[in-house]
């Protein structure tokens, strides 16, 4: 893989702050396949949407391992079975339904709605906590601690354990980055494997406790679920909990940070949000199109030959669906490179589509809507100190590592 290949440019950290010109280049070739044995990369909106709904496209970790990638998360690697994000129907459906039965409708329709007051309180506390500082890092002081606190409360993981589980989450998330994985040495791979195991063991202690004394949290519900889909095995509870804990905060931190960055680059929209907090709803949808926290889905394979735009993608090939590129496709969106929360049509791919569409979407939306409305209202004269800010390494879960801001103060 040379760095001049488009796929290499997508993963190249040098392009992290602005990958969008590369995606525009990508869309010129509907089915990009640059290297024998390499991934087939898809960047056009309608093709991505179509493939997200195509049952011949598999998310199964075992198929990906067979395609010569991703030894890390194969079924035998850690002792933990794959979570539902890495499975196909019917196993996927059963596990996702059980997880959903403690998260959303039809069984638990008020879980998210009932958290609104608590979300606002956490946001208020974090903004109050900025005190008299005139320079802040929005990531470390707000965009990271907020969703971490929320997912801890939702699952029933003690918030004060965050420094512990962060040491396991970081290598796991890094292993999702295709570039890191390709260039990774065996030591790095071993570290990610150990991390998933350790995180699972840590959660096992909490699950054991909840099995004896159930509380009003998702770990308790997962451990004791007994519906039409049966019960979860201990290993299934753990792999689901690992998934929800990580996906529950590693993505929202980027959505909030991308949001503030985009608003500060579009001051007239920030001003409108200050005057009308309700605008946060449309701002968040447009953000999911314009700067989606999950840029691409690199873990799918096809389980049959697939004809697409005159190209045959052979059975067993790896496929990358570049959601962030589809979101900027001029065949789908008018003036796609403009951030415009007033656009009448924002049917974005930010949360994917089809059976694997983001499980936590309603929570991520609500968190980000409340966060951005309150930041706009309470931060006095916020200004970017670095543009572009420093980014995380990760090409898949993309977002700033820090967002240094100067502020005139914090309004009550």
């Amino acid at each position: 893989m040379t760095q001049s290949s488009l796929l290499g440019q997508i993963t190249d950290y040098a392009n992290r702050a602005d990958p969008y010109p590369i995606y525009a280049e990508l869309r010129k070739t509907p089915v990009l396949h640059e290297e024998e044995g390499g991934a087939y990369v898809i960047g056009s909106y309608y093709d991505i949407l179509h493939l997200l709904h195509d049952p011949r496209i598999s998310s199964d970790a075992a198929n990906l391992a067979a395609a010569g990638d991703d030894e890390l998360t194969g079924p035998d690697s850690t002792g933990l079975p794959p979570s539902f994000i890495r499975l196909d129907p019917p196993e996927h459906d059963r596990l996702r339904r059980i997880a959903n039965s403690s998260f959303g409708p039809p069984h638990c329709p008020r879980r998210i709605d009932s958290m609104r007051g608590e979300l606002s309180r956490i946001v208020t506390e974090l903004i109050d906590g900025l005190g008299d500082a005139r320079e802040i890092d929005l990531v470390d002081q707000f965009a990271y601690p907020f969703p971490v606190t929320v997912i801890c409360r939702l699952l029933g993981v003690p918030r004060e354990d965050e420094p512990r589980f962060r040491t396991w989450v970081d290598p796991l998330v890094a292993s999702l980055d295709p570039d890191t994985r390709r260039s990774a040495d065996t030591e790095f791979q071993k570290a990610a494997q150990d991390a998933r195991m350790q995180l699972g063991m840590y959660l096992a202690g909490l699950v054991e406790q909840r099995t004896k004394e159930p509380q009003d949290d998702m770990l308790s519900d997962l451990a004791t679920s007994q519906g039409a889909d049966g019960t979860l095995s201990m290993m299934e509870v753990l792999s689901t909990a690992v998934l929800l804990l990580i996906a529950g905060h590693e993505t929202t931190v980027n959505l909030i940070t991308n949001g503030m960055l985009t608003l500060l680059r579009n001051p007239e929209i920030l001003q409108r949000l200050r005057e009308d907090p309700g605008l946060s709803v449309r701002i968040v949808e447009e953000l999911l199109r314009f700067e989606p926290p999950v840029q691409l889905v690199p873990q799918r394979t096809c389980i049959a030959d697939i004809e697409l735009r005159g190209t045959t993608i052979p059975k067993g090939s790896r496929i990358w669906l570049v959601l962030a590129s589809g979101n900027r496709d001029p065949e789908r969106f008018t003036d796609p490179d403009r951030f415009d929360p007033d656009r009448p049509d924002i049917e974005h791919l930010g949360f994917g589509s089809g059976i694997h569409s983001c499980f936590g979407a309603p929570l991520a939306r609500l968190e980000t809507q409340i966060a951005l409305a309150e930041l706009a209202r309470r931060l006095d004269s916020p200004r970017l100190l670095q543009d572009p800010p420093p980014y995380r390494q990760n090409a898949v879960l993309r977002g700033p590592r820090h967002l240094p801001l100067a502020i005139g103060g914090v309004r009550p």
């Binding site: 409708p105 039809p106 998210i112 709803v281 309603p362």
Partner: protein, 75 residues
């Protein structure tokens, strides 16, 4: 406020039922039940639901459309 869901578009993602549970409910995994006249107090939540629909199937008066046409109850 009056609202309409295009049930030909609806794919059962249930985003509306998460965000405005007093107006939209799921009957089983995929069937949506909703109240075509929502209380004015629900406006903020309905706005979140309308925006969150992945297939943009919800039309709500005063949110993403002009007043909906009046229909007579007479048969």
């Amino acid at each position: 406020m009056r609202l309409v869901v295009d049930l030909n578009k609806c794919q059962g993602y249930a985003q509306c039922a998460f965000l405005a549970p007093d107006v939209f409910t799921m009957h089983g995994e995929e069937s949506l039940v909703y109240s075509p006249r929502a209380d004015e107090a629900q406006r903020e939540k309905v706005a979140r639901a309308v925006a969150a629909c992945p297939v943009q199937a919800i039309t709500a008066e005063g949110l993403n459309t002009e007043p909906l046409p009046e229909v007579s109850d007479a048969r």
